[in-house]
């Protein structure tokens, strides 16, 4: 579900040529590279604090979800 959302978002920006650079950066910086340990990434308990905008949320939730190995209730989950 989240992967699909991300794919659609990438597809949208590819078609519309908007925010391409930031999304390309997010695609790599948040999700790829040297992944040393989930424990070293910001505490997963603080996932509800990670929120800037929909685009970042989708990727960060997707990434955190995979790290944590458990699905979140909703990709659109609002921060508390």
């Amino acid at each position: 579900m989240l992967r699909k959302l991300w794919a659609h978002l990438m597809e949208y920006v590819t078609t519309k040529s908007k925010d391409v650079t930031l999304l390309e950066v997010l695609d790599r910086v948040l999700d790829k590279g040297v992944v040393i340990s989930g424990d070293l990434v910001i505490s997963l308990a603080e996932i509800d604090l990670i929120y800037v905008g929909l685009k970042v949320l989708i990727s960060s939730v997707e990434t955190m979800e995979r790290l944590r190995g458990a699905p979140f209730a909703s990709p659109m989950q609002e921060p508390t």
Binding site: R3, K4, A7, H8, M10, E11, V13, T14, T15, S17, V20, T21, L22, E24, V25, L26, D27, R28, V29, L30, D31, K32, G33, V34, V35, I36, S37, G38, D39, L40, V41, I42, E46, L49, I50, Y51, V52, V56, S60
Partner: protein, 269 residues
């Protein structure tokens, strides 16, 4: 205070040119043998991902890329103290060395290709209809009609996937000639035909871009997005399992080892 890491580099030397990292802190190299982890000190706890921090992380990695081979570290990777970073470097040393060797003088390019999936599906459906018009079912029972419909949908999906394979093979033929390694993702969504990452030698960047232009200028309904050169985020393969700092025995061992070791180790990577 925490230690925020940006990348692993193929050098144990100090960063000569000043680079500013997150919170404007100065970026420095934490050496271990003949490699190093580039880091900066983080005073505040990161509570949210924001655009500026993400771009700053990438900016630091790209600045490093100008002078070193870099293994970019994923955003938000922080440590409690410098000793933890050194323990991590020690634990992953062979992996890092191997990756640094593989990625030396190489950069990553991203290519996304959008195709008109609806048009293609409609074309396949029409072809199926034409074919079926010539075939009559003697016993048109509901069971047989259901099975026939299922089989037709299967054929459409199969033909759609095969068409994607043909198209990707055609495009990949342009790009792989100038790449050392690639990662292809097919149909992440119906319209996103290809999401590809290519690892390219720095000296072949021009050839690769030219190949992209040639593919782009091929007549058709495809839309392209080209990005790069990037640090090789998608081509890092670590054999060692993620390391956890459940206890700090490793740090004591490392301190002992470091006190016995000459940090200006000149062993080549």
């Amino acid at each position: 205070m925490r230690i925020y890491t940006y990348g692993i580099i193929d050098s144990n030397a100090n960063i000569v040119e000043p680079i500013s990292g997150l919170e404007g802190a100065c970026v420095y190299n934490l050496p271990y043998r003949n490699i190093g982890a580039v880091a900066s000190k983080l005073i505040n706890q990161i509570k949210e991902i924001n655009r500026d921090d993400v771009l700053k992380h990438e900016e630091v990695v790209e600045r490093l890329m100008e002078n070193f081979t870099v293994l970019p570290v994923r955003f938000f990777t922080t440590f409690n103290q410098e000793e933890e970073v050194l323990v991590m470097l020690k634990e992953y040393y062979q992996d890092f060395k191997e990756n640094l060797r593989k990625l030396r003088n190489k950069v990553e390019f991203g290519i996304r290709v959008i195709w008109p999936s609806e048009t293609i599906k409609n074309r396949i459906v029409e072809a199926c209809k034409k074919f079926n018009a010539d075939v009559t079912i003697p016993d048109n029972s509901p069971g047989k009609s259901f099975a026939k419909e299922k089989f037709e949908n299967y054929k459409i999906d199969k033909e759609f996937a095969e068409e994607a394979d043909r198209c990707i093979a055609f495009l990949d033929d342009f790009f792989s000639r100038f790449s050392a390694e690639k990662k292809l993702e097919k149909l992440k969504s119906d319209n996103l035909l290809l999401n590809a990452y290519y690892l390219v030698e720095k000296e072949k960047q021009g050839d690769f871009k030219e190949a992209f232009e040639r593919a782009k200028n091929t007549p058709g309904d495809l839309k392209y997005l080209f990005s790069g050169p990037w640090p090789p985020y998608n081509f890092i393969n670590l054999n060692k399992k993620p390391y956890c700092f459940k206890d700090f025995e490793g740090i004591d061992m490392l301190k002992k080892e470091m006190s016995n070791r000459d940090l200006s180790d000149k062993e080549s990577i």
